[in-house]
């Protein structure tokens, strides 16, 4: 097979008024015709910048060095004129991005948007363009394509929005499709469908795909070639079989190992640093304390939202119905389900951040749901929460020290501010951050570090119960293991009870002693993780299990 795009010695810097920061240092790779190349790396590895250089869609202050070459079918794209680039974009090379909602124009119907792309590069009447859009919708698997032409983006689900984006991208039968984390914002089961759609379209249209992802396991299922990037350089590249079966670089080996495996439950997950220093010693299997007296008991939790349908009419939308669970000291209950399944609502009700419509939640016998705000204050010390998105859950205008000292001040821990700061420093060390972090601000930390800070804040009041609402979902796969290890360490040393919520069944299986599978507000299956994985009873559980990326073993061909 011949080469479609070749990137040679690509060096990109971001220039501000005072400084210049090189983010991609001499990267080279080739996209073959009729094949999929995947670029894998964590955020900040330069993978998106490298791929977008091909389309020349970089921020204004990005400077590509003169020595770099990007050739598309023998033509150097870095010296092509802007008219030529416009002709190429969308027709020969097109792109799909991570967030379908922000990539679509909210005030135009999706039919109009696809028709516009169709007629940009071809002379078609408005009717013909819409006709073509309907064909494309059918091709990307949107049900009732003709009716959907008149829908607005917000009327579609995330998966359907991404299908519309893909329809736009393939509208002019491009030779290269650049897909920048196209499934990261989607639910796991939808992620699987979109992945399969891209693979199917690729082989039908005999185009090339440049697939960007942070998840090596996902990439293994569709890529022919893989480029592993870290900190702006290529660590390793080669055919997918070699990358998976005989990885050369320690970083690649680390990426392969850091995702929790379904067949083993080690006490400690291997992390990137272990591999960079040498091969990690295998860890003993995780041992759990036997079932004890429950700390938190939830029974029949229910939440209804009232939607107004008219001046006086309203209808109830049941977000959660009849959810019950018991969490014992030192043990973990896992709650798994897709977005909209009501699992976060359960956490919010137990925390009293939203009011429950029914049921009860007891903390060592005391019913929490009936307490007044003042009575609840005392219990907030004992039950704490870590949110999903560490970028949003820390106040950007407060230094870390003040963020950590505040809960202690509210609950009267520590005699004075300097004593509280001393405790905060100890907490930081406990979650593996330097003491100097005290006077810095959230934006100065990476996602994984921020999640450690959020955990430290929750621990500041010495709680007995910790609710972890998707604590690793916003993090790169490579960082997830470090946070999961930290949570296990803390549970072991402090005897914490965890309610662990995630959409990722593999993570829940690793963390939890009991798993509840939720769908549309209902628990559809519950049991020990081993039982659920060995013989899932409910069809939805099987779907979730199928959606776990399995790397090269998960290939369907």
């Amino acid at each position: 097979m011949s080469t479609l795009v070749s990137v040679r010695d690509l060096t990109v810097s971001f220039v501000t008024r005072r400084t210049s920061l090189e983010v991609v240092h001499g990267v080279s790779f080739e996209v073959r015709e009729d094949a999929t190349l995947a670029i894998v790396g964590e955020s900040g590895s330069g993978k998106t910048v490298s791929a977008m250089s091909i389309l020349r869609l970089l921020p204004e202050n990005a400077v590509v060095s003169a020595a770099s070459r990007i050739e598309y079918a023998g033509e150097n794209l870095l010296t092509a004129g802007s008219a030529r680039m416009r002709a190429l974009r969308g027709r020969e090379i097109s792109a799909v991005f991570q967030e379908p909602m922000s990539s679509l124009n909210p005030v135009l119907t999706v039919g109009e948007q696809v028709a516009e792309v169709v007629s940009l590069h071809r002379r078609l009447s408005a009717r013909q363009a819409l006709e073509r859009a309907a064909e494309l919708f059918a091709e990307v698997g949107i049900p009732e394509p003709r009716a959907r032409l008149r829908s607005y983006p917000h009327e579609l689900s995330g998966g359907q929005q991404q299908r519309v984006m893909i329809a736009m991208a393939i509208a002019n039968e491009p030779k290269l499709l650049i897909a920048d984390e196209p499934t990261t914002a989607l639910d796991v089961t939808v992620q699987r469908q979109v992945l399969e759609l891209i693979a199917r379209l690729r082989s039908r249209h005999r185009m090339s795909v440049l697939f960007i992802s942070h998840d090596l396991g996902l990439v293994g299922e569709i890529a022919d070639d893989v480029v592993v990037m870290r900190e702006g350089i290529v660590r390793e590249s080669g055919p997918v079989e070699r990358i998976f079966h005989a990885p050369q670089d320690p970083y690649t080996r680390a990426l392969l190992a850091c995702r929790p495996r379904l067949d083993a439950r080690p006490r400690r997950l291997p992390v990137i640093d272990d591999f960079m220093r040498g091969t990690p010693a295998p860890s003993a299997p995780l041992e759990r304390p036997p079932d004890g007296a429950p700390v938190v008991q939830a029974k029949g939790l229910r939440k209804e939202f009232r939607l107004r349908t008219g001046l006086f009419a309203s209808r109830a939308l049941v977000a959660v119905k009849d959810v019950s669970f018991d969490v014992a000291r030192g043990r973990t209950v896992g709650l798994v389900g897709e977005s909209g399944s009501g699992k976060t609502t359960v956490a919010m009700m137990v925390m009293r951040l939203i009011e429950a419509s029914g049921g009860e939640a007891r903390l060592e016998g005391t019913e929490l749901l009936g307490l007044t705000a003042a009575q609840m204050l005392a219990f907030r010390r004992r039950i704490q929460i870590v949110f999903q998105n560490p970028y949003a859950s820390l106040n950007p205008r407060r230094s870390i020290g003040r963020t950590l000292a505040e809960p202690m001040r509210i609950h009267g821990l520590g005699a004075n501010q300097s004593e509280r700061y001393e405790r905060a420093r100890k907490l930081l060390e406990r979650v593996g951050l330097p003491r100097e972090a005290m006077e810095r601000y959230p934006h100065e930390f990476s996602g994984g570090q921020r999640q450690r800070i959020a955990i430290a804040r929750a621990l500041a009041v010495e709680p007995e119960v910790l609710i972890c609402d998707e604590p690793v979902s916003a993090l790169d796969v490579s960082v997830q293991a470090t946070v999961l290890n930290l949570l296990l360490d803390l549970q072991e040393s402090l005897g914490l009870a965890y309610l662990f919520i995630s959409h990722d069944l593999a993570v829940v299986k690793y963390m939890a002693d009991e798993v509840l599978v939720m769908r549309s507000g209902e628990v559809v299956e519950r049991g020990t993780p081993e039982a659920i994985f060995r013989s899932p009873q409910h069809e939805y559980t099987r779907k979730l299990l199928d959606a776990i990326p399995r790397g090269i073993e998960g290939r369907h061909h």
């Binding site: 907030r380 949003a392 859950s393 230094s399 804040r457």
Partner: protein, 350 residues
């Protein structure tokens, strides 16, 4: 190492102060604003521009650097004084016998009128008052009115906006009604009616000095824009995870509103504040023109500007120049200072 360990997170205000000092433009603007404040303090205490209302120069006295320029108006007025010899009315005037007595008594009194100078440092106005003194004294009124009224409007708008945006539901509904009432009345009509109430109504005796009426009128009519902006920001922020996290650790509603959310929306408030100061100083001009602003025995940049209209026609530009330069420097420095404050409050822009 030990020294590093002792470092505690700095107080938000000391951090703000440190960052402001690092910003050269910000520090310069802060210096200018402080200089103005010192100036108006001195003016209020009577150490500066005390004699702004005395007629120290000839009418339209030339500025010192244009001393040799002909001053037709002053010459004309002088000439008219000499020409105007009163006709003899002794035969018909019943008060004629008193003339002699009066002349004698007038002779006993010393003439207090000083010699009027032909030039003044930055020229004189129609009555021969020193324009520079007027501009300094005018700063006192204009800045007090503009800044104090803007601060009051900001306070009202922020407080109500925070309550409406944070609590929603009936609090929001109630405050929206209030907002709608205030914005449905044309603002000039609202100002008139408030002025009527404050100047002649039951509260008239409370406001001895005319400035405070203007401040209250402007604050009560100007909070609406701030309210809407702050309300929208609070609606956006109240369900953010950092606010939920604060609630989860037990922070009270007041703490979430003003300790957690307020710093995150301060940029909106600061920009709106600087716009309000500019707008209010201009509105004060209009109010003074309509006779609802500062009393006639006071001077503000607004009254100076309205006087300047007629002067400009006969080529006397210095009063306009003095008021404009004073106003332009202050307003530029003030709005750039709020920009610097906004940047200094944002830890990402250090």
């Amino acid at each position: 190492m030990a020294a590093v360990l002792e470092v505690t997170p700095e107080n938000a205000w000391t951090a703000l102060w440190r960052r402001l000092q690092q910003d050269r433009v910000g520090a310069l603007c802060l210096g200018i604003v402080v200089a103005y404040l010192v100036m108006i303090l001195f003016a209020a205490a009577g150490w500066l521009a005390r004699g702004w209302s005395e007629e120290v120069g000839v009418p339209y006295a030339n500025p010192g650097f244009l001393g040799d320029r002909p001053n037709l108006e002053a010459a004309l007025q002088k000439g008219s004084q000499h020409k105007g010899v009163a006709p003899d009315l002794r035969n018909v005037d019943p008060l004629a016998p008193k003339y002699e007595e009066w002349a004698k008594r007038t002779g006993e009194l010393k003439g207090t009128e000083a010699e009027r100078s032909l030039t003044l440092p930055w020229g004189g106005d129609r009555w021969g008052r020193d324009v520079l003194d007027k501009a300094i004294k005018g700063s006192q009124v204009s800045i007090a009115v503009g800044v104090v009224a803007a601060l009051c409007a900001t306070l009202i708008g922020t407080l109500l906006g925070a309550l409406a945006g944070f609590y929603g539901r009936w609090v929001n509904d109630g405050l929206e009604w209030l907002y709608n009432v205030f914005t449905s009345i044309p603002s000039i009509l609202l100002i008139f009616s408030l002025a009527a109430v404050l100047r002649t109504g039951a509260f008239a005796h409370l406001f001895a000095s005319g400035i405070w009426t203007v401040v209250i009128i402007l604050a009560f009519t100007g909070w609406t824009g701030m309210y809407r902006l702050v309300r929208a920001e609070y609606m956006k922020h109240r369900s953010r995870e950092y606010v939920l996290a604060a609630q989860a650790i037990g922070a009270s509603a007041a703490s979430r509103m003003f300790v957690h959310i307020l710093p995150n929306v301060s940029h909106v408030i600061l920009v709106q504040l600087s716009l309000l100061v500019v707008a209010f100083i201009k509105v004060e001009v209009i109010l003074s023109f309509l006779g609802l602003g500062v009393p006639v025995d006071m001077v503000s940049w607004g009254t100076m500007l309205s006087e300047a209209q007629t002067e400009l026609v006969i080529g006397k530009w210095w009063q306009l120049a003095a008021a404009s330069v004073f106003m332009a420097i202050f307003l530029t420095a003030f709005s750039m200072l709020t920009d610097s404050l906004r940047d200094a409050l944002d830890p990402k822009l250090r």
